[in-house]
């Protein structure tokens, strides 16, 4: 199976949804080729609005389209769609609980050579803290299709985090996804690796490395970061007694924080975070950056050994 980026699911899924009769529209900010909304625009030109380089206008326009009864998706890159337009997302979309679905691409450090100005590693923190915002972080192409579908068909604000890097499939065609459910993609008994997005693949590779040493790692895909599947998080932590949270995001405010909040209150467990350690990104090849920021499987495995030693 060739690798596919989660962003490739964006335009394709919008077309499917419109084909099925859903009243879906997309508002873009001069990045339709990069986000793939151009494919939707070509097929449904009347359902597509390009506002130019104007992300605040993009979110505001989507809000208005939602008020007018549409299921309104927005494009652009994660850094601009969440950062530049934050007040529009907060005070218009979320405060009014509008049917707006932010699905920006180019999240995280795997953006690569464009550098730190374009590598959004704070978006999960920014989106997760907003009341009423649901946050989905798909791990592969199929999960991205499902996440976009869930966002489109569930009323209210959504954030779907899409990426630029081509990824190996985590799921096969038989997988089905629900809002608010975590998926145990590998069972284990010694440590739980909670992961989202591109880190699910790395966590699975880390589990292979750990297995060679006789360590049994459970890998749980937190595709829905919010609302978090608290029952699955707590029961896996109870079972293994050692937890690592893995995200292509700052260690502050994202998946690691969400897991720590729940376990701290309900079931304190030895815990480690794998993520970008409170620094901005930098230019480089995506694979080299994954290594540089300590996000590859071997770093996840090392973190797992560390928490097991403390368990």
């Amino acid at each position: 199976m060739p690798k596919r980026a989660t962003r490739e699911a964006f335009g394709a899924t919008l077309i499917e949804l419109a084909d099925e009769g859903l009243d879906v529209v997309a508002v873009e900010a001069d990045l339709s080729k990069s986000t793939t909304t151009a494919t939707f625009a070509a097929r449904y030109p009347d359902h597509f609005f390009n506002v130019g380089i104007a992300e605040q206008n993009m979110v505001g326009t989507a809000a208005g389209l939602a008020v007018a009864g549409k299921v309104a998706f927005t494009g652009s890159f994660a850094v601009f769609a969440t950062g530049r337009a934050y007040d529009q997302v907060r005070n218009t979309v979320c405060y009014s609980e509008l049917n707006v679905k932010l699905a920006p691409t180019h999240s995280g450090i795997t953006v690569g050579p464009d550098g730190g100005s374009h590598q959004m590693i704070e978006d999960l923190a920014l989106m997760r803290v907003l009341p009423g915002m649901r946050v989905l972080v798909p791990a592969d192409y199929r999960a991205a299709q499902a996440a976009l579908r869930i966002a489109a068909t569930t009323p209210g604000p959504f954030y779907v985090r899409l990426g630029r890097a081509a990824l190996q499939d985590v799921y096969d065609g038989s997988a089905s996804f629900e809002l608010g459910r975590a998926y145990t993609v590998r069972e284990g008994s010694d440590v739980t690796l909670f992961a989202c997005g591109v880190m699910v693949g790395e966590a699975l590779l880390a589990a292979d490395l750990l297995a060679e040493e006789g360590v049994s790692a459970e890998v749980v895909d937190i595709m829905t970061l919010k609302p978090l599947d608290v029952a699955t998080v707590v029961s896996s932590a109870c079972k293994t007694g050692a937890v690592v949270a893995c995200e292509e995001h700052s260690i502050i405010g994202g998946l690691g924080s969400a897991i720590a909040e729940v376990l701290g209150e309900q079931h304190p467990t030895p815990f480690a975070r794998v993520g970008v350690r409170d620094v901005f990104g930098t230019s480089g090849d995506p694979a080299a950056l994954m290594e540089y920021f300590g996000l590859t499987a071997r770093h996840v495995a090392a973190a797992a050994r560390g928490v097991i030693a403390r368990a």
Partner: protein, 276 residues
């Protein structure tokens, strides 16, 4: 002190910078050739004629300031700074690589001569206003230059800043627009029509000059006149060709943000070299 401006030097430097841009982006395997090439004559005129600066003293208080609001034209700025002597030209071979000082978009923490980090469009004019207000308060004679793209003008913040500059009569500022008519998704007029840029800035209280952005004597003249404007902000709207100098990149939005392959690079280098 006004120095004599040597048109031939600017012209020669612009050609060298175009070669650097193609070479750097080709080696990096990614980057933004179109908008770097369209602004090359403008930035050459600034760094090798118009601006008062000293590469040996990047923090010299009396220097003129340059804000590259369209930060994706980073290769152009890096070439200008390296050729002026702010840092060794060897760095140009490291563009966009892990560990390089030359990030995909300019990082002022890493590169001598970069006044402020840019890359998120639409923010430069506000920053330039702030620098100019600060310099004015300090009694400085320096001028602040700010280069924006035409697509960039779609950002609302540009017009907030345009209003402020007129309100505060910021006359130690010269804004420049690279009006190449293209952005990523196509022609600006088709994506989100910016309309009559000159009339819009005029309506906002600016003194506006339109010029051919590849006619170096006219450009130098327009920049000098803009600098001499008093009691109002001034802007030079430069009509340019995106990808200028490389025939197959010219006027083609597809060359906004992709690297030429080996064969294309060789073609581009041949075209640019025969002008030297």
């Amino acid at each position: 002190m006004e120095r004599a401006v040597d048109i031939d030097t600017i012209r020669t430097m612009a050609r060298h910078m175009r070669l650097d841009i193609v070479d750097m982006i080709s080696k990096a395997g990614s980057g933004h050739p179109g908008g770097s090439l369209s602004s090359a004559d403008i930035v050459a005129a600034l760094y090798f004629g118009v601006m008062n600066h000293d590469p040996q003293r990047p923090q010299w208080p009396e220097r003129d300031r340059f804000v590259l609001s369209k930060g994706h034209a980073a290769p152009l700025l890096y070439s200008a700074l390296a050729n002026a002597g702010y840092f060794d030209r060897d760095h140009l071979n490291t563009l966009r690589q892990l560990g390089s000082i030359l990030q995909g978009h300019p990082d002022s923490k890493k590169v001598p001569g970069v006044e402020v980090s840019t890359g998120s469009l639409g923010q430069g004019l506000s920053i330039a206003n702030g620098i100019a207000l600060g310099l004015r308060a300090a009694g400085s004679a320096s001028t602040v230059y700010c280069l924006m793209g035409d697509g960039e003008l779609q950002e609302g913040q540009v017009w907030e800043a345009a209003m402020s500059a007129a309100h505060y009569k910021i006359d130690n500022l010269v804004a420049i627009v690279d009006h190449n008519g293209l952005q990523i998704d196509g022609a600006c007029a088709d994506v989100m029509d910016v309309g009559d840029i000159e009339a819009k800035f005029e309506a906002f209280g600016w003194v506006v000059t339109g010029v051919d952005g590849h006619d170096i004597p006219a450009l130098v003249d327009a920049l000098a006149r803009a600098k001499s404007v008093r009691s109002a902000p001034a802007i030079v709207v430069c009509r340019t060709v995106k990808g200028k100098g490389v025939s197959f990149m010219e006027n083609d939005a597809d060359w906004h943000g992709k690297a030429p392959d080996e064969e294309q690079t060789a073609c581009a280098v041949t075209e640019l070299s025969c002008e030297l």
